[in-house]
Amino acid sequence: MGIKLYKEPELNTPIMLCGWPGIGNIGISAIDSLRGALKAQEFGEIEPLDFFEPRKVVIERGLLKDLQFPSSKFYFQRIKNQDLIFFIGQEQPTEGRTRYAEGKKAYKIANLVLDVAEKFGCRRVYTSGAAVTQIHHTVKPRVWAVPNKQSLIKEIKEYENTIVMSEIDRRSSQGTITGLNGLLLGVARKRGLEAVCLMGEIPYYLQGAPWPYPRGSKSVLEVLTKILDVEVDLSQLDELARTVEENIEEFLESLYNAEAIPPQVRDEIEKLRYARPAEPGPITEEEQKKMMEHIDELFKEGGPQDEKHL
């Protein structure tokens, strides 16, 4: 079990872009949108049995036809003078304990991805995820960038709409990137491979929401396309962002009307609507905690019910 390559394209010091699901699916949505727009071709996969549970069984007239597992696939494309490898993982291997990958399986899959990166002589790896912060859902999200080498900081600071950890209020230069979007950076560092994680901002009251957050994905994609010097059509993401924003507004309004969350919490969310991103957050840690207690509970109540398994 491990990597299965269907073909071995000849690539010249490619850049690898990796995406796994996470909060608001910001990272995977950005990377996968780029993969789709550039029509990258599939050339390999990581075999799923060591990492994942099957998602679906197909039984027709009594015959078990198929058992489907989450895919972890490699794609490649050549653009201008730049070769690219994409890795898209439909799920993070969780070992049944946590939502995001950790432990042996996570380490193993991160190494398999980087084995492919090294095999094809990748010069850099980008991952992407979400940065949970105090912004309103109508505000354009910034991109937090974390490299695995100090020497990359100067370059990163030149990216538009991008900040490094030390530029974020009250956080100094520290933080955590949960799951494989973060772990891959560490494993790449161990191998001496340059890697950067680009995280699109998401309002913290939406971090438990079951919807994607395309505004965050779009911000990441804007940075990536600049780095790669490619142009892609972002209109589909824009459309999805509008729909999601309408849904968020409707959802919040219904909560306010039903008095499911107190007026005080409403005021706190509304304060964020008018805050500039660079300002210190207009609400206190205590207020944030109170808001999360209400909103996370509401998302949990609307969560998926037990499904039938056969």
Binding site: K56, I59, E60, G62, L63, L64, L67, K308, H309, L310
Partner: protein
Amino acid sequence: MKSIFRFSERPNFENPSLIVGWEQDSGKLSPKVIEYLNKKFKSKSFCEIEPMDFFSLAGVVIENDVAQFPEGKFYYSQRNDLVIFKGNEPRFERYRFLNAIADLAQSYCKIKELYTISATSSPIAHTSPRRISVVFNQHQIPESLRGYGLQDMNWQGPPAISSYLLWVAKNRGIPGVSLWPEIPFYLAAGEDFQAIKLTLSFLDKKFNLGLDLAELDENIRDQNIKIDQLREEDSEINKYIGMLESELPLSEAEQVELTMKVTELLEKKG
């Protein structure tokens, strides 16, 4: 690498069939069927799968006042054409656990086929006849299942452990069949003796087991009498069961009420 199998005996088999049952199942169908067979044939465990890699061993679960411990055991009896496996569903490394079952069954026991038993809860009344749906992993298998009144299943969705095992068996070339007896949803938390009897009756015919299932008739009768009494005392419950008998759907609230009241009734001692 340390083996995950622990043998206590090394019995001989003659091209046996493997019957797999799980500890947790709706209407306690799977464990009851396996317990019945093990009791009938005075089966003995000859090998178990070490639980360490597959279960959380951070303590024990208490069920019905008794501390439980996860297990996965193979049984043999004087019937050397049958191997029985009974186990808890693994929490971790499910593929490795299922592959281990198939590996031992194929390499050591030299099984010719595998049967899994799992219940599926259904919107039917307890007074309705039960049916067994069937899934098989090779095209030619249906031939050997003709004449037993089984129904071919159609399903696309999340797989249960039995379907996963059937797929593992398929990849190893082991012919496999999953039996899915239906049970009324409101008996899921208790025991459905009628479905247990139907399943045993199928196995009896299929493997010429010579079972006398009359003792289960008494359990079926007792359970039906209790539910009949509840129907007499509670007009709502009588209405809900009547609707199911007429194949009319119940709302979620009605299903919950019916399930709660029947479960409470059947849990009463005496």
